[in-house]
């Protein structure tokens, strides 16, 4: 019994010394055979199971007490040391030491492995590695990450540099468009890899260390654990930087493909280098299926990151991309792919909305700018999202804003019928196959199989609207729908046309063509008036020619005969023409009466254009002016000095208007106000250059009642109704008034009023004491 105990003791001591790595002991480890026999003895006594437990226990304590602290010492000892550039040895030496310590355990692990009974779930080696990782990394000093990152980013740069050198030496290889550093350092003295002078370049060393470390980490099974985070961060940085450098502000070519290529060729090859070692060299390692899988996952994640970064960049530049449309088409197409692969839609919407608010929707932008930007927005967002949901989400803001501008309608109409063909809207109008604006027109001959192609709306779509309503591809209809009614536009077009004709600033053929194009959109009936207007112009021309050719009169008066009913309401202002001119008008009228029997003319003397030649003592002037302006100067022909009142009586023009008109001649230096209220003709004066000049002030003033005035008239009508209502029904709340107006005043009229507008209007009446508001009800004041 004692012998067996002794035997057991001896065997145990053999096993313990044999299995533990002999650190600093001179005694040679027992050979395998000795170890085996010792183990057999233990086995014989049925205590062999202790061995494994014991082994792991001692390993753990060794890790805790020796290996771990020694390892971490490397990083804390050097805290205050000078920051050495490039891959410093710390990391490598630390890990190589760690590697040595651990590998001393490995033979024993092998031995034990062989002893284990079959069917054990986990291999001992895995268990050891697990314990190792757990104990070593349960507490990591902050600095460690920094060191790792530093090391890997150096290695990455060095690696890139080497790759580039290789590429340079083999000119056959095609150079990608993304070689942005290519030209930067051809002559520079520093190495792109380690940023040191070329002679002292440490790239090669760095790379050697790098491979060494990777190999060690791999054998320790720590590769991903230690460097994963750092590598990801570095690659992310690199991707961001690369995208910034190559793509920022460049909208004219597609980048996604080159970027993907770049990612695969440069970045992923590096990743492979880390995990697989240099291909074809001694460092190459077999990659387990698991690592391969994680590499693949990594690749997908990086690709996603690439798309996300690129998408984010483009989204931040979206406003400029829209400005440059259609040159920025490529960028848009890239972004479209990005949006499909990532979830950046929401970011796009909010960022674009705020960019628009910041850069476009402010008083500094003219309405036509806002409009053209809106058109570009429509076109660009259609590229991104053919369903129109994005447009709806973003464009809303501009549409709301446009509604608040007074001149939107006029600008749209002007845009549609622009003089130069350059306007976007005119182009849009020219486009064939216009969609008629008739409401409720169903698409005919719709593909019966269309439902098979149905796709759900994107998730951010407003479910209360049909997808069809969004898909309307026509920009003009979109613009017109800002206001919800086309009557407004037709009226405005009529007034624009009227202004053009009356300021004699038109090209008949072009106007006719415009009219035809507009007819296609708005329908024949709506534009009947405009047609008559243009026909009037043609007829007038004929009549003028006739009157002239028959020599019925010898003066240069040409009439523009207007069929008053079809024209917009013209501002009626009085103007008494000088007798000499009036005579000619009368004779024209007579001539007209002979040409067109039983008809006569009602002149609108304030409209039109006068071609004047003025001769003064020392100068001559030739001007085209408004009749009022011309009449003023004609009066000065007879008399050099006029007071404002005298002139006003003679011309039957209010003095306020007159004063404004006279400034025209004051600007020319023909008339001087001296003393105030009295105007004197300057026979001699500084010669004024410029022979023919059209009064620019005149151009801006329109002959027709502006839409704002028209609106006021409409409001006046509503006011009459409101008065009628309140006279009979005493007092009513706002909503009731609104619904009554809707029922009784708006039924046959195209005009409309919103609740808010009505409230504002009624409140203004309350302020001017034409209405009383008490208890939420409006009423008329008593004793009116």
């Amino acid at each position: 019994m004692a012998a067996s105990v002794e035997n057991l003791g001896a065997a145990w001591s053999t096993v313990t010394t044999g299995l533990l790595p002999c650190r600093g002991q001179a005694k040679a480890p027992p050979t395998d055979d000795v170890l085996k026999s010792a183990i057999t003895v233990l086995d014989h006594h049925g205590v062999s199971f202790i061995i494994e437990e014991w082994f792991l226990e001692s390993l753990q304590s060794d890790l805790r007490e020796n290996i771990g602290p020694t390892f971490w010492n490397h990083f804390s000892a050097e805290t205050n040391g000078p920051k050495q550039h490039g891959a410093d040895g710390t990391l490598v030496s630390a890990f190589s030491e760690l590697h040595t310590s651990l590998s001393s355990y490995l033979p024993s692990v092998d031995v034990l492995e062989r002893l284990r009974t079959e069917g054990s779930k986990q291999s001992l080696k895995d268990k050891v590695l697990l314990i190792f990782k757990a104990l070593l990394f349960y507490d990591i000093p902050l600095k460690f990450h920094g060191v790792v990152k530093e090391f890997y980013s150096c290695a990455f740069k060095a690696c890139e540099e080497e790759l580039r050198k290789k590429e340079k030496t083999s000119p056959g290889e095609e150079e990608g468009p993304d070689e942005e550093e290519e030209d930067t350092d051809e002559d520079s003295l520093t190495c792109g890899g380690c940023e040191q002078e070329k002679e002292r370049c440490s790239c090669t060393e760095t790379l050697t260390l790098f491979h060494q470390l990777n190999a060690q980490l791999h054998s320790l099974g720590l590769l991903e654990r230690v460097c994963g985070e750092a590598v990801t961060a570095i690659i992310h940085d690199r991707i961001q930087q690369h995208i910034q450098n190559t793509c920022q502000g460049e909208f004219e070519s597609q980048f996604l493909h080159p970027l993907e290529k770049w990612l695969n060729s440069k970045v992923l090859s590096w990743l492979h280098l880390v995990f697989k070692g240099t291909p074809g060299q001694t460092g190459e390692r077999e990659v387990s299926a698991k690592t391969q899988e994680s590499l693949d996952r990594w690749q997908t994640r990086l690709l996603y990151f690439l798309y996300q970064t690129y998408g984010t960049l483009r989204i931040s530049e979206m406003f400029d991309i829209i400005v440059e449309f259609p040159d920025s088409m490529s960028a848009l197409e890239d972004l479209k792919v990005c949006l499909e692969k990532t979830d950046l839609r929401r970011t796009l919407v909010s960022s674009l909305r705020s960019a628009i608010g910041r850069r476009l929707l402010q008083p500094g932008a003219t309405t036509s700018d806002v409009l053209s930007q809106y058109i570009l927005l429509v076109k660009s967002l259609r590229v991104l999202d053919p369903t129109g949901v994005l447009l709806e989400l973003v464009g809303d803001r501009i549409r709301h804003y446009l509604r608040t501008r007074d001149d939107t309608v006029r600008k749209i109409v002007e845009g549609l019928t622009e003089e130069e063909g350059g306007s976007d809207l005119a182009d849009e109008l020219m486009k064939g196959d216009p969609i008629s604006l008739e409401e409720g027109v169903e698409e005919e001959g719709e593909d019966p199989w269309a439902w098979t192609k149905w796709e759900p709306d994107p998730i951010d779509a407003d479910p209360s609207k049909t997808s069809k309503s969004r898909r309307s591809p026509d920009i003009i209809s979109l613009l017109i729908s800002i206001y919800g009614s086309k009557e407004l536009f037709i009226k405005e077009y009529q007034s624009v046309l009227c202004n053009r004709i009356l300021s004699f600033n038109y090209d008949l053929t072009r106007e006719l063509r415009n009219l035809e194009l507009l007819k296609l959109r708005f329908g024949e009936s709506q534009l009947g008036n405009c047609e008559v207007m243009l026909k009037d112009v043609q007829d007038s021309k004929r009549v003028n020619d006739l009157i002239k050719s028959e020599n019925l009169m010898g003066v240069a008066v040409s009439g523009m005969i207007i069929s008053a009913q079809y024209w917009p309401q013209l501002k009626e202002t009085k103007l008494a023409l000088p007798p000499a001119v009036q005579e000619r008008f009368d004779s024209y009228t007579q001539a007209f009466q002979t040409v067109k029997a039983s008809r006569t003319l009602n002149w609108l003397p304030q409209m039109g254009l006068v071609d004047l030649d003025i001769e003064l003592k020392n100068r001559r002037l030739s001007v085209m002016v408004n009749p009022v302006v011309a009449t003023i100067i004609m009066h000065f022909q007879d008399k050099e000095r006029w007071t404002l009142d005298e002139l006003s009586t003679a011309m039957q023009v209010p003095s306020s208007v007159l004063r404004r008109r006279i400034t025209f001649w004051q600007n020319y230096g023909l008339i001087r106000e001296n003393p105030p209220g009295t105007y004197v003709l300057l026979e001699e004066g500084a010669d004024h250059h410029g022979d023919v000049m059209i009064d620019s002030d005149e151009e801006t003033e329109s002959a027709t009642a502006s839409s704002q005035e028209m609106r006021e008239e409409e409001m006046q009508m509503f006011w009459v109704y409101v008065q009628g209502m309140l006279t009979n029904l005493d007092s009513l709340p706002l909503e009731r008034i609104h619904s009554m107006l809707k029922m009784f005043a708006m039924r046959d009229n195209p005009i409309e009023i919103s609740l808010q507008e009505l409230k504002a209007f009624l409140d203004s009446k309350v302020r001017s004491q034409q209405l009383l508001l008490s208890g939420g009800k409006y009423k008329l004041p008593k004793n009116r």
Binding site: M717, V720, Y721, G724, M725, T727, N728, L729, S739, M740, M743, F744, A745, R747, D748
Partner: protein, 181 residues
């Protein structure tokens, strides 16, 4: 008196009518609404002093009218509300007009019913809300004392001072006091 304007064209051919009574009914109603709508607009746009009317609710067939007594008569300065009810056959049939404000007048009874020939046998499709209101307004100053509904008022009419006194007393009692209570 059989003025041809008073014949509803829809009633001319009864056989035809039976076929699509519903359609014509709807159509009829539509044309009546149209006419009333136009009358309303005309009334709003006209500048008549002292008369006014407006639909009282959602229907175009019930209106409330307001008129003030004509200047120079005992009714000067007094305001009266009326109700106007338009039949489906309007304007071929007269509207039913009634004073809502109690009115002391030879031709108005205590329920507000008005005795006015043009609202009865002398109605013509050429009349409209405006003319009806104007007629009633002038009736105030020129009562028809031959067929009075209010005998007391008719008897009093000759003595204008006494009449005015009674009128104002009544108006005060029936209208103003209720208005301000």
């Amino acid at each position: 008196m059989s003025s041809s304007q008073n014949v509803d064209p829809a009633s001319v051919a009864p056989q035809q009518r039976e076929k699509d009574t519903k359609d014509t009914r709807r159509g009829e109603k539509h044309t009546v609404s149209r006419r009333l709508q136009q009358e309303l607009m005309g009334l709003m746009m006209s500048d008549d002093k002292g008369i006014s009317a407006f639909p009282s609710g959602d229907s175009l067939f019930n209106w409330t009218g307001t008129l003030t007594g004509p200047l120079g008569t005992v009714y000067e300065g007094l305001q009266y509300k009326l109700s106007l009810e338009f039949p489906q056959g309007y304007p071929y049939k007269p509207p039913t007009v009634r004073f809502e404000t109690p009115c002391f007048h030879p031709n108005v009874d205590e329920h507000g019913n008005i005795c006015l020939d043009i609202l009865k046998e002398k109605w013509s499709a050429l009349y409209d809300v405006r003319t009806v209101l104007l007629s009633i307004q002038s009736l105030l100053g020129e009562p028809n004392n031959d067929s009075p509904l209010n005998v007391h008022a008719a008897g009093l009419w000759e003595n204008q001072t006494e009449y005015k006194k009674t009128l104002l007393e009544r108006y005060e009692k029936d209208v103003r006091s209720k208005d301000f209570s």
